[in-house]
């Protein structure tokens, strides 16, 4: 399914949650949607899943508006940080209603995951611990096999082992049945290797849409004497500069060409750090592939 986002804006009273954002996700890939709190990630995911209407612009899924459109929404599953489910229902009723809603629902996978996460089918949602409720969300998201599955910080309260388990299942599923997965999280270090493409929002603007591998290749830091660093970064996009005594470190992206002729010390920058530098207050740098 093709997702086309066209000049999408959302305003809450005076605040711009999204500001004329445009991009396309055309292939079944694992996308990382990153940004600080309040960057507009959740608003975007809500609109994509048909939970909210934009103020202007639109999101089209296979050229159709997902809002109040069963034909589209049966192919989109959004799992949020919490309150995904009716608190008064039992786990088995939740699973049953989702299995009826999603045409690709995989009951065998759901059963397997329920065992794995030790979830009791007869428990009411309100009696579940935070971690268990998150596990239920993860189980629904994975078993839905929805063509577009969106995880918005799905694992509050899940311990590291359970999260690892989730990543493994996600990959296994993705390999046999490719689908579009949009993943939003603050635990970037844990999942960045899963992403094929990364989108970064900053205060309602899309400031990056790039292949993860190209980000790893293009972002680096140079450290050395102030004069030499300044000389090298003249024609580079600089994200951040740190200084100590007469030494300087600059975080840049661009070509590393020519760096081997200097005494500068070059290091790569992980995606998590890159996100931080790009979204720092007062930052103006953006990096778009298309």
């Amino acid at each position: 399914m093709e997702i086309k986002v066209n000049k999408l804006s959302k305003r809450y009273r005076k605040k711009h949650a999204l500001n004329e954002v445009s991009f396309e996700l055309t292939e079944p890939k694992i996308y990382g949607l990153l940004g600080r709190n309040g960057a507009g990630k959740t608003t975007f995911m809500d609109i994509l899943a048909g939970y909210q209407l934009p103020t202007s612009g639109d999101v089209l899924v296979n050229n159709k508006n997902p809002f109040d459109n069963r034909e589209i929404s049966q192919h989109i599953c959004l799992i949020k940080e919490g309150s995904n489910f009716n608190q008064n229902l039992k786990v088995k009723h939740i699973l049953n209603s989702y299995s009826l809603f999603y045409p690709n629902w995989d009951q065998a996978l759901a059963n397997e995951l329920i065992k794995e996460y030790n979830l009791s089918l007869n428990a009411k949602v309100k009696t579940l611990s935070k971690g268990m409720e998150s596990a239920l969300g993860v189980i629904v998201g994975l078993s839905s096999l929805a063509t577009i599955t969106i995880f918005d910080e799905p694992y509050i309260g899940l311990d590291a082992a359970a999260r690892k388990n989730f990543y493994n299942t996600l990959l296994e599923q993705y390999e046999t049945r490719p689908r579009t997965i949009i993943f939003s999280t603050h635990l970037i270090d844990e999942v960045s290797l899963l992403f094929e493409e990364v989108l970064i929002l900053r205060e309602g603007d899309l400031i990056m849409h790039e292949k993860a591998e190209i980000m790893r290749q293009g972002a680096f830091s140079v450290t050395g004497s102030k004069a030499e660093v300044e000389q090298f970064i003249q024609d580079k996009q600089v994200m951040k500069i740190k200084e100590l005594a007469n030494m300087m470190t600059a975080f840049v992206f661009g070509s590393q060409e020519g760096v081997e002729d200097t005494d500068l010390n070059v290091e790569g920058v992980p995606i998590q750090e890159l996100m931080i530098y790009l979204t720092e207050k007062g930052g103006e740098v953006s990096w778009m592939a298309n």
């Binding site: 493994n168 094929e196 591998e213 790893r216 790569g268 992980p270």
Partner: protein, 125 residues
């Protein structure tokens, strides 16, 4: 095989290098199958497309040969190519920096040879 990958460098390159290392040190022999995309994705918890990119580069360089439906196998020429390539890299990545550092420390060529010989003796012990 490496145990862990570094998020600071392209992952496909690390996958590629890791398989190359295994071929060079003989833990994967000529004619043997290398791990599949799935196996690599699962082992390292990485996106399968990324693993595929690393493997595809090895296939393009004819280090490995795809056999449809069976897997990827290390070729005879592949291993030779790899060793040749690594020797070139050895010169660039080790010998040149060694000489640069030596000249910074005002170590003459003769002194450097002596040191290398001494190293040889110790290595041979």
């Amino acid at each position: 095989m490496k145990g862990k990958l570094d998020d600071r460098r392209p992952i496909y390159l690390q996958i590629k290098e890791s398989i190359e290392d295994s071929i060079i040190n003989g833990s994967i022999k000529v004619g043997e199958r290398i791990p599949s995309t799935n196996e690599l994705a699962k082992f390292y918890n990485i996106n399968p497309a990324t693993a595929r990119q690393g493997i595809n580069e090895l296939a393009q360089e004819e280090i490995i040969l795809k056999q449809r439906g069976v897997g990827m196998f290390v070729t005879e020429v592949g291993k030779e190519k790899l060793i040749g390539h690594r020797k070139q890299q050895f010169y660039e990545n080790f010998v040149i920096p060694l000489k640069n550092e030596a000249s910074k420390l005002q170590i003459s060529n003769e002194q450097l040879y002596d040191m290398l010989k001494k190293g040889e003796v110790r290595y041979g012990d």
